[in-house]
Each structure stands twice: as C-alpha cells, then as structure tokens.
C-alpha cells in the first residue's frame, strides 16, 4: 500500500479514534514519524500546560492555525503544507520556521545544534569569505527568481532585468554560476 502523503510504501497503519469518527492513516516511515511527533505534541497540549516547548503546547487553536498559515519568503511553502507532506520546501525554511521546527527537531534528534562536519569550499577560491557560516545569501536567489516571474507576468521587464543581474552577482560571489550551455 502506498503512503497517503507520498509515493513511498506505507509502513505504518494508524487508526485514529476520534469522537464519533474513525480515521485510517497509511504512512511511510518518515511521514509516520512526522505525524506521530505532531500527535504526541498535540496530546501534550491536552494534558499539560508546562510549556515544555513542543508545537502546540499552551497554544490555542487559533494560534495553531496562524502557525499553519506562515509561509516561507523564498519558496512560498506554508507550515501547513510542510506538516502535511513532511518535507520542507527550501533551505530557507530552517530559518523562516526556526521557532516552529525547533521542538519538532528536538523531538526527532534529542538535540538542536549541529556538531559534525562543515563544508569547505575550494581553497584556491580568491574570496575566502564565501566559506560559509550559513548559505542564506545564496538561498535568497530562490525568492529573487520568484520575483522575476512575477515581474515578467506584470510586464515589468526592467525590474526583472535588475533582479537577473543581482542573481548573477550572488551566484558569482559564491562560485555557483550556472553551467554554460
């Protein structure tokens, strides 16, 4: 059986008993993990208000639905879409949804800070400042591409042109130029 959220095989078969309602879920391992983490957080909300940091703890339904409507400035994914799919939309989501993701990540990994390897760019690169603390600046081109599409739709070709130049500059700075065709 296929997972209801993606193309993977459903490994978890969950039956939710709600008041007067029986709901069947068939999920792959990843989606089940996201779903169960969420369910656990929800149940903590029901029986405790110790503010232990999980999603939903001490928050009203209204606040929760506000969180769901938050969206990423770069790729446009809403937090609701992420909760449904279990997959984020772009690297910037980790910044945009940092507050919301933190309890979820703490739940999965038991930790909230990376301690492993870090990428090193080509040592021969002139500008060593591109060796990253974070790659947020490069990720910003995702949002700029979206703005170009909007500008072109609005026939604002001047804005689109400026944005294209800006993207080129950023890609060049990070040695991420597109391959020449």
């Amino acid at each position: 059986m296929q997972c209801q959220q993606c193309d993977k095989q459903a490994m978890f078969h969950i039956t939710e008993l709600e008041t007067g309602n029986v709901r069947e879920l068939h999920l792959c391992e990843d989606h089940a993990r996201v779903y169960l983490n969420q369910a656990e957080a929800d149940s903590q909300q029901d029986d405790s208000d110790d503010g232990s940091g999980s999603i939903g703890v001490g928050q009203t339904a209204k606040e929760l639905s506000e969180i769901d409507q938050k969206f990423c400035d770069m790729c446009g994914i809403t937090f609701f879409e992420f909760r449904n799919q279990g997959r984020l939309g772009c690297p910037h989501d980790y910044v945009q949804f940092e507050e919301e993701l933190e309890p979820l990540i703490a739940n999965i990994h038991g930790e909230v800070k990376h301690t492993g390897c870090r990428p090193k760019r080509d040592k021969s690169a002139e500008d060593q400042s591109v060796l990253p603390e974070s790659t947020e600046e490069l990720t910003s081109v995702i949002g700029m591409r979206k703005k170009i599409r909007e500008a072109v739709e609005g026939e604002d070709y001047e804005v689109a042109g400026t944005l294209r130049d800006d993207i080129k500059k950023i890609l060049h700075k990070w040695h991420a130029e597109e391959p020449t065709k």
Partner: protein
Amino acid sequence: MKFEVLKSSVGEWLKGTGPESDIVMSSRVRLARNLAQYPFVGRASETERSEVEEFLRSRLSKTSVGSRLEYMDLGGLEDLDRQFLVERQLISREHADATGARGVAIDSAEQVSLMINEEDHLRIQCLHSGLDLQAVWEQIRGVDKEIEAVVPYAFHERWGYLTACPTNVGTGIRVSVMLHLPALVITRQIDKVFRSLHKISLAVRGLYGEGSQALGDFYQISNQITLGRTESELINQVADVVPVLIDYERRARDFLLEETERNVHDQVSRAFGILRTAQTISAEETMQLLSRVRMGVLLGLVDDLHVSDVNKLLVRTQPAHLQKMKGIDLDTKDRNIERARFLRSYFESGSSDEN
C-alpha cells in the same frame, strides 16, 4: 552499454569477502546534500529540477571522483533497467519510481553511487562488503570533500547540512549494516534484540521484505538520529552494536548445532533440495530458502557451495536481474518458471566457475 557490464559482474558488496562476512553482508553510508540556490526536489519546478541536474553533472565532471563515474539519466531508462539498479542497491526504489530530471553516477566497482534529485538534490552512497564502516566512511568523506569544494551545499551554522526532511538534518548521514541473522530468527530471539536496539535509537528494518518481517532473515541496522552528534559518533553507535549482534548470532548458531543439529541439517538440506529441483518458484520463497542454505554453508552442512555463490544468487534471482539475463520482459508466472530454471542450471553446472 553499461548494463552489459553490470549484468555480467556483481557488485563488490556481494563478494562476501569483507570482515565478519558470514553475518555482515554489507556496510553502507549515505550523505544527504542539497544545493543552497534551489528549492528542495519536492518543491522544485520541472525547470529547476533540470537545472539542478545540469549544475551537479557539470560540477561533478570537474572532480576526480566524478570523472571516474558512469552517469545514467534515469528518466531515459526503461522501467526494467531502473528496477535492476534498485536490486543492485545503487539507487533507491523512490528514486527509480519518481518522475522528472534525475540520474545516478556509479563507479565500476559499484561501491560509490551519487543519486541526483532523489529526495535531496544529491545523495552520496558508499557500499562495501562485510563489516567495513571505517573504510566506507573514509571513502565517502573523500568523495564529499571533493564535491563540496566545487558545489555550494546548503548549510546553516546551527542546523548543519540542510535537508528536505528534518529527520536527516545536521550531518545528513545514514549509517547502515545489513546482517544475516537466521539463527536468531529460528531461536526466536530476534524481537528481543530489536527492542533493545530501538532503545538506543537505532532503526531496524527487513532488507527485501515488507514491514518488519524481513524476507530471508536479512536485517538492516541504521542510525536514526542525524543531528547533535558528529559523524564519527554516529558511525560508532552502529559499529559498536554490530559485534554484539554478531556474537548473539554466532552463539545461536552454535546452540542450533549442538542441540538440534539433525533438525537444522534437515531444514538446510530440504531448502537446498527445493532450490535445485523446483520447476517454478517465487522470489520470496527463493529468498527464504537461500537464507537457510547460506546458513548451512557457514555451518559446514553444505558442500561445494560458497557464501559468495549464495550472495550472488540472492541478487540474480530477483525479477529485473532474471529478465535482464533472459533478455525479455516476463510476467510473474513466467519469471517464477525462469527463476527455477536458472537455479537448476546454476547448481547443475557447478557454481563457482562464474566470475
């Protein structure tokens, strides 16, 4: 054509030669990486996915590792060929079944595979025969370093390597060993073992089977956590538990020999008998029987057969391998007949003469 080469060879990991290879089939590490300048694969447009593929292909070709690899455009392959690569463990089932621009680069030893546009933009996999995690880690770290010098990976000071699914964030590493544990299954100790593994945050899944019921007693143990510990710590977490499992399995095998040798010998002989004489046989039954025979070989209950023969048969009797060898598409019924025919002729002709 690359497939002709693949067809006549078997991957390094099947040779059954590495350390502890009586129990440890293979050691694998994979790293999940993404480009900073594109949305993750699931949210990328068709154009963006093609750009990601082009970007990675072009950059990889500039690395010494990339230039040694053979690149295959998965979208341009037949279903059967993709299935073949899955059976070979060079790509994931999801990668095979997906749509859109995606590909894989593989080295001739079938140890390194770079999957482009799987769930993440780049998934680096390294696979060795037997228990060899340290060497696998050194090899994959070397590949990763070469690539990161020319590819801007999405990285965040706090969250580490950024991945499409938060379950992989941080190191992006999945360390796994595939174990053959027939004696623990027969002596009904396997569930106890799994419960204790879950307690220390290790995941267990059956290799070919669905759900937790592993077909042929093959189990994959892997780390679940990827953030907040170093790669070495995560590798050691898996590496430290494997000798314990090996010890349990060996003791269970000794117990079986001491207490129930007649029964075990009988089970192994019957399994071997069916494999040598069946006229039609499913992939599942073949896997179960080969598992018994593999144990029998290692316990000295079967003559004239090597572990590497059984390992090869485990892969070659799978659907896509059978069809590639036969050169035509076969439905399930015909595959079962062809599988039985292949097994009979393999055992008749004397097994060890093949490459």
